[in-house]
Amino acid sequence: MADLSVRVCGTDFKNPIIPASGVFGYGREYEELFPLEKLGGIATKGTTLHLRTGNLAPRIAETPSGMLNSVGLQNPGIDHFISTELPYLLTKDLVVLANIAGATPEECAEVAAKLEDTDVHMIELNISCPNVKQGGAAFGTSCEMAAEVTRKVRAATTKPLVVKLSPNVTSITDIAKSVEAAGADAVSLINTLLGMRIDINTGRPILRNNVGGMSGPAVFPIAVRMVWQVANAVNIPVIGMGGVSSGRDAIELMMAGASAVQVGAAIFTDPYAPVRIAEEMNDWLDSKGIKSVKDIIGTVKPW
């Protein structure tokens, strides 16, 4: 048995595997299948100040080795999360990352402030959502907006603050450096890539929202590249994700520089994916005689 524990921003994870925000709800549905304690942590569904009903259906489309979603941040609002979901999750032995979002920097800060008096372990700030004040461009697509929202949320919370980056940018390292300078304790990446599918028989986009976020194994090479670039550009930890579906993928992302790994779409193919991935990581480390998974973080030797 290899030591799978990792430490990110002073928080201990028993293993580096965390279901990604949005695919796992608040954990209840998957608890039917396995005890949540098997996970290192959980990134909860993106939560906003008030309840959001999200986009119209269809919200899901399949793509080669991947999928699109346009859920549109449907969630019951932060108060419901704090009163009903969080207490339940906190009874489990795992790290809870509260994924939060908002339409303005102020809203994001307000959501974070509400979490201040809870025992949630970390805040994961999703900056891939549209900034209503700036004409709807996603916060995560400019260094200024990304820094501003990070600063506002930073001021509102003493919790470890993970800023989750969008891959739909020219230079993800610039964005990462901006949020680092603005006070982020860690970054997580990648969120989904904007994509589209059309039903050629109807001539209509498959998603009612026309476009949606692509994730799944298809995006894995982009995640590896971005994690590697960002890990080399900042001095804060990186939580990696994007297309991870096996223990080997998780190892690869950690070699690229990730201190922990989130698992998203793979859960839809195999609901046990997060548990299986942690086991596969252990098997691989054992087969190589590597004592601790910490020993592989960022070890890739570029040519």
């Binding site: 949005g22 695919v23 796992f24 709800g25 209840r28 549905e29 998957y30 039917e32 299948l33 569904k45 009903t53 999200g54 986009n55 119209l56 259906a57 269809p58 919200r59 899901i60 489309a61 399949e62 793509t63 080795s65 991947g66 999928m67 979603n69 859920v71 449907q74 498959i206 799944g216 194994p217 779409a265 859960i267 839809f268 193919t269 195999d270 609901p271 046990y272």
Partner: protein, 256 residues
Amino acid sequence: MKYTQGQYIITEKHAIAREIYSFTISCPEVAEAACPGQFVHIRAKGYTLRRPISICGIDKEKGTLRIVFEIRGEGTAEIAKLNKGDLIDMLAPLGHGFTVDSSYKKVVLIGGGIGTPPMLPLAKAYGEKAVAISGFRNASAVILQDDFRSTGAETALCTDDGSAGIHSFVTQPFTELAEKGGIDAVYACGPMPMLKGIAAICKEKGIFCQISLEERMACGIGACLGCACRTKRNDEEYFAHVCKDGPVFNAEEVLW
């Protein structure tokens, strides 16, 4: 157990119409937990998303489930390649099924096309109290009529082109039945226009009506919020999820 995921042996495979297959699957715990109207979420090799397929038969004694599905695209084509003896990967049983009430005296089951299979477990539950109306494009698409008859249910068959049974949509024989009165509940699954039509008739006549909806799904268990469906609960709009709150909804809840 609510639901589970596993690999189960296919004990029977039959082609029952052009591009329509019937699988019998040995899965005792799933069969034990399953109710009419629920579905199974099947992994298709090479695809990220599972495919939702209604349960068409539940044999708790033999520990088997039956599903009937049509090849509609690449995923169902891949699943159709599985053979007797092969393992099928299912997450099941899922969703909220039909309300079966033994006090009902007369129920009508309406299936349109590949929406017919989920009606069969209801026919088995209600037996002679049920009238099963099935509609298909044409004679070559007709499925499950013998199965319905063997449950003791009365059957009515419609085709769009008259090549088998009555030359009409299912709404015509249903309207006639509804006029006669005495129906305690109507259960329906099929294309949206059909469901809307039936719901409208039921609303007018004040008959309790449940329908089974389809939506594109990812998780299948209510976690990802992918399969939204606009409904009304206590007069408030409520974004329900087809996989968890459905696939069966009371027709009056649905905001079409």
